[in-house]
């Protein structure tokens, strides 16, 4: 474990978005999208980040990349502190870290030919220019399983799966080491999802990439990721190896999340025990006191409503933030 090299080190990261209101647009509160998150991402691994919409998983991904600047905390990439970096130095760091977006329809410029989409990052970062850049773009297309003559086409000529391949090629254009995959398959059809997942896995092996894979599709996460972090209302509630999280989920939220996912097998579904959570996710502007999950938790105790649980290691590498494991009498 300890020999693994930390590529990204996140410590006590916070991102609050101010909420303004009233007559003079005064600051009346904060959306605590990411609230005191710490995690490590090791070289060559895929870390899955799962949670429901609004839990802050995309904000966390973007804050790590400094696409959104954090309110507090630190993000280190290869031991370099990113939160302090600005201007040219920040731009240089971007060649090492890229992102693949969820919606391949809105994340490609409809007026740009694919060639420009792929070569622009190279020229911005001064990696390749002119014919060299064009050759590289053609090579990238081949790498993601598309034909090189697609360079002269516009995004509207492609299907969703093909667009997502182009989005992946664009992320690869600057030779990154680390890619945040922000729900890259959730807007694709089932039969296309597995194509893209296979592609991402193949590229990871060939180019020794490290992924932060943000998703709410737990069956895919289980298949793709080496480790998983589960997020709820801006906080990480459980983290561990995939087998630990899937085989022995400790946090009541993870347990409920697992049981909520329908399994495509009627025989299994028939005999399955279900934990149906009551209510909705509370507002991140005014999260509950104590444990954030206490309003919906089936195992809630008195202490949960007053004290924030500590994020503690229960077994080797498997951490959970829940009083059930730490403060039970």
């Amino acid at each position: 474990m300890s020999e693994r090299e930390k590529l990204v080190e996140v410590r006590n990261l916070k991102k609050y978005f101010p909420v303004k209101g009233g007559l003079f647009q005064r600051h009346i509160g904060d959306v605590k999208a990411v609230d005191d998150v710490s995690l490590d991402i090791y070289t060559g691994e895929t870390l899955g980040l799962v949670g429901e919409s609004g839990c802050g998983k995309s904000t966390l991904g973007r804050t790590i990349l400094q696409l959104i600047r954090p309110s507090a905390g630190s993000v280190k990439f290869r031991n370099q502190e990113l939160t302090a970096v600005t201007g040219d130095a920040l731009r240089r760091s971007r060649t090492k870290m890229q992102i693949i977006f969820q919606n391949p329809y809105s994340s490609l410029n409809p007026r740009q030919m694919i060639e420009r989409t792929l070569t622009e990052p190279m020229s911005v970062h001064g990696i390749y220019r002119g014919t060299e850049a064009k050759e590289r773009a053609a090579q990238l297309l081949k790498m993601v399983g598309l034909e090189t003559y697609f360079l002269g086409r516009f995004p509207s000529e492609f299907s969703g799966g093909q667009r997502q391949r182009i989005g992946i090629a664009r992320a690869l254009s600057v030779n990154p080491e680390f890619i945040v995959c922000d729900e890259p398959i959730s807007s694709l059809d089932v039969s296309i999802q597995s194509q893209i997942v296979n592609l991402l896995k193949r590229l990871q092996k060939e180019l020794s990439l490290t992924y932060l894979f943000i998703s709410h599709d737990l069956s895919m996460v289980r298949y793709i990721c080496d480790r998983i972090a589960v997020m709820y209302l801006g906080k990480i509630v459980e983290q561990g190896e995939t087998d630990q999280i899937c085989g022995n989920p400790l946090h009541p939220y993870t347990q409920a999340l697992w049981s909520a996912i329908p399994i495509p097998d009627p025989e299994v579904e028939e005999g399955r025990e279900r934990i149906i959570l009551e209510g909705d996710v509370p507002s991140p502007i005014n999260p509950p006191n104590g444990c954030r999950f206490c309003t919906r938790c089936p195992k809630v105790m008195d202490i949960c409503r007053s004290a924030d649980p500590e994020f503690k290691e229960i077994e080797n590498g498997h951490k959970v933030a829940c009083h059930w494991y730490t403060s039970r009498p």
Binding site: D189, S194, V197, H216, S259, P264
Partner: protein, 344 residues
């Protein structure tokens, strides 16, 4: 006994400036009272359009019903005149849509929106209607229903809005409830709540339910019978257990294999169906799935296969069922090769 619903050879096309989109190409099935049917398909497979036809909601033009019959209690819905629909739509057959935010009126309180349904369809007075509204809102699990009647849709969360939609759907006690991807826009824990809710309501009210989705897991949890659609045609249909355990059509086999199961090894490559979904304007002459199929023969490209009985109530539309049965492993290696040559 006549089935509640008997769909026969329904065809729907849309005349667009780019060409004729053949959205639904001759689908047939029957549904008994109290059944739950799942219709599974990817985007553009025609699953929603076939149901819109059932409610007379195909915009004409550009849409046109090219043929077929939809017999509801023996009465052909496709022959109804505009003013005859009011006795059916909402009252007998209700529909829940995918996105509750766009299907509710944002400038009308939800109480008034639900009242409207019962006033128009059941002829209730506004007082009776409000009473009924509070009743159904309570039934779908909205706390403080009487107060919340005065709230607007934006004051509800996504899951709550979908409950409001369901309340509206069941307010007139329909016999048939059509749910068109009602949980696709929702989170899994909320999706689980909605599925349990519909199951409970179905039991209480004895409703027949058609649930449209692309999620193979949701269908497995909810329904007893499924129809798998692709390119506007039914590829396979039947009781859910045999289809999931021993799918017969190459598309169903591929679809089920694309979802990583609990036993999959992380170092294994995931099965996938090569190529891209069909262009509905330029559908192949034969089987819609043929261009992506590993078992494709010349006949598949030329002639459209009909549904062939492969088990009890279990049918599949494929020319090569025997070959598929004998070489189910072929699907994997062959389709991969096919994908390589066709990609793009």
């Amino acid at each position: 006994m006549t089935p509640l619903l008997d769909v026969q050879q329904v065809e729907v096309a849309f005349y667009t400036k780019d060409g004729v989109v053949r959205a639904v190409n001759g689908i047939s099935y029957t549904l008994e009272k109290g059944d739950t049917l799942g219709i599974v398909g990817e985007s553009g497979s025609g699953k929603s359009v076939s149901l819109l036809a059932m409610l007379g909601l195909i915009p004409t033009p550009p849409g046109k019903i090219m043929g077929g019959k939809i017999l509801y209690e023996g009465k052909d819905l496709l022959q109804l005149k505009r003013d005859q629909w009011s006795g059916i739509r909402g009252k007998q057959i209700a529909m829940i849509f995918q996105d509750p935010m766009t299907s509710l009126n944002p400038v009308m309180t939800i109480g008034n929106q639900i009242d409207e349904a019962t006033i128009v369809n059941l002829g209730l007075t506004s007082k009776q209607a409000r009473q009924r509204t509070v009743e159904v809102l309570t039934q779908v699990g909205i706390p403080r229903a009487a107060e919340r009647c005065n709230d607007f849709p934006h004051q509800f969360s996504g899951g709550m809005r979908q409950r409001v939609m369901i309340a509206m759907g069941i307010s007139c006690n329909p016999q048939l409830l059509i749910a068109d991807e009602p949980t696709t826009a929702l989170d899994v824990t909320i999706q689980a709540q909605i599925i349990e809710l519909v199951k409970r309501l179905q039991k209480q009210m004895g409703m027949t339910v058609i649930w449209v989705t692309h999620d193979l897991g949701v269908v497995a949890r909810l329904t007893k019978k499924i129809i798998v659609m692709y390119g506007g045609s039914i590829m396979e249909s039947g009781p859910i257990k045999p289809i999931y355990a021993r799918p017969k059509h190459p598309y169903t086999i591929g679809l089920l294999a694309s979802v990583p199961g609990a036993t999959i090894n992380r170092s294994d490559e995931l099965h996938y169906i090569g190529g891209n979904p069909p262009d509905m304007i330029r559908l192949p002459a034969g089987c819609a799935f043929a261009p992506r199929c590993a078992y494709q023969t010349e006949q598949c490209l030329r002639e459209k296969p009909g549904l062939i009985e492969v088990g009890k109530d279990h049918t599949a539309a494929c020319w090569n069922l025997k070959t598929v049965e004998q070489n189910p492993v072929l699907a994997k290696s062959e389709s991969r090769r096919a994908a390589g040559s066709q990609r793009g």
